[in-house]
Symmetry: C2
Subunit: 306 residues, 2 copies
């Protein structure tokens, strides 16, 4: 069927990168020999740790695909997180675990489940098709599930995720707990990033009804480390608010060890954070106890209160 480009979302995380690699393997097993794993952005440090550990190469960086090309989307379906000409390509498949945000003019293969990670869905697809999951594929899947569920502690975690981690640990021979903590910690190293880069590490544009927002999430093993940069972060956040005409910029600094997030909220709709979580912002910041999941603990609550 000609080349098929497989990619996760812009600003790729470990799930997006590994899912494109795993999906390419899956497609080859289905007989689609020209399935090609791609990525829409730089590999982050957490994912770099995974790829180095497994001694495999990152998918190729692609900026554009030609109109009419065959594509498969993994770990996203929202056009705002995808290639710019998504409306002009032929989407063959979507495998995802996010809310629905895609309209098409044609039917396609669409598989989404409300689980913690796209790789948990991929794991089920391998099982359903009777395909063998080799050690590398298992390691990639395992890494992504640990990443997205913060070692199965995020409220997005489901029984399916736990079951997958258990079996994938066995196949890969990887101890999920110790490997996972090292991997997550590798992702919290901000030393080489500028303030601007930190603010774009995992930034998503989200509309809470009429509130135009960016929610950026930064994982850390120690919130106070990141809060040392608060003044500089706020200055740049205010610039981005002006540049992009935002109503709200939320920076979630997520403590992956204790499962809390410190939020810095700026913009004219910052009080929506106070209303949504029953907290008082002091100097633009508050601790959101137990909040670690943007998808489950930010988007629905902020949308409801907007």
């Amino acid at each position: 069927m000609g080349k098929t480009y497989i990619f996760g979302h812009k600003n790729p995380d470990t799930d997006s990168i590994t899912s494109s690699l795993v999906m390419a393997d899956f497609e080859r097993k289905l007989g689609n020999a020209e399935a090609k794993a791609c990525r829409l952005g730089n590999v982050n440090k957490e994912t770099e740790y995974v790829l180095n550990y497994l001694k495999i190469e990152a998918p190729e960086l692609i900026e554009n695909v030609e109109d009419g090309a065959n594509v498969i989307l993994v770990d996203h379906n929202s056009p705002s997180e995808s290639i710019d000409n998504l409306n002009n390509v032929n989407i063959l498949k979507v495998v995802d675990h996010h809310k629905l945000a895609l309209e098409t003019a044609y039917p396609l293969f669409y598989r989404a489940e409300p689980v913690g990670c796209t790789e948990t869905v991929m794991y089920k697809l391998y099982k359903e098709n009777g395909f063998t999951i080799d050690k590398t594929i298992a390691s990639l899947m395992l890494s992504a599930i640990i990443s997205d569920t913060l070692l199965l502690k995020s409220p997005t975690t489901t029984e399916d995720d736990k079951k997958a981690v258990e079996e994938l640990s066995k196949i890969s021979g990887i101890n999920a707990e110790s490997y996972g903590l090292e991997m997550l910690k590798a992702g919290t190293d901000l030393s080489s990033f500028s303030i601007d880069e930190i603010l774009h590490l995992d930034a998503k544009k989200i509309d809470f009804k009429n509130v135009k927002a960016i929610v950026n999430q930064v994982n850390t093993a120690d919130i106070s480390d990141v809060m040392k940069m608060k003044k500089d972060l706020e200055d740049r956040m205010n610039e981005i608010i002006a540049e992009e005409n935002l109503d709200l910029f939320m920076l979630l600094i997520t403590d992956i060890v204790n499962s809390n997030s410190q939020v810095i909220a700026l913009g004219k709709s910052a009080s929506l954070v106070e209303k949504s979580y029953g907290v008082k912002l002091e100097n633009n910041t508050a601790l959101l106890k137990g909040v670690v999941s943007r998808k489950k603990q930010v988007v629905p609550i902020m949308t409801e209160n907007a």
Copy 2:
């Protein structure tokens, strides 16, 4: 988890009715004891034939479900074809074979494939879960696949549909060819319908870009039978165009034996039919050779040319 309402689209066809019944069985097998098959409109004559043949009752007619209710959508995902308060209910699952038209604020189980019939996807779900398909369930699935694919002759037909029909014929003991033709013919009996009812039998509101249209499809074993009513049909079509402020009303009279459609096209955008199919409308009508599928042979072509 409390009651779960399962329903197909408004103006239900055999796929929508049987898929709600089959999905209720599937959910009960998954442990969801309160899954309830429903329908959003009257049972058509083809479906009546199926239910009478199998001696089973139609799903309950529901007009509304309470806000916050758990629902499962089968054979549709477009809000315009669903319950009016779709935005205020909790969609647990979608199983479908149409283009994507649904946005949600939350992740959900979504399973769609570009196959001829929702029941082909249901068939795969039973297989994947290792569930037994009993004789009644097999008969329901088989009936819907025959209906949607016009006995595997529609261009929407895939290898998956053919494989399902083969196995479902064995399980049900039903001869697909002879049973299918009787069933399809039962659906073409227009004797008890008023002109207005005929024009609403399988009417879908579709926007071809900016062209606001209704496309109604009527199956027949003899096009000339329906064309005898042309004058009356046109008069009522023109009234509906005025009432609903339409740009186009297409009536497809589909010959299920020879796989052609006679189209009657009215409204200020009627020439879009000429442009899309390279035909000349004479007295508002033309033969569209080989056209039997609204989804595959009308929506994409008309959208492209609009």
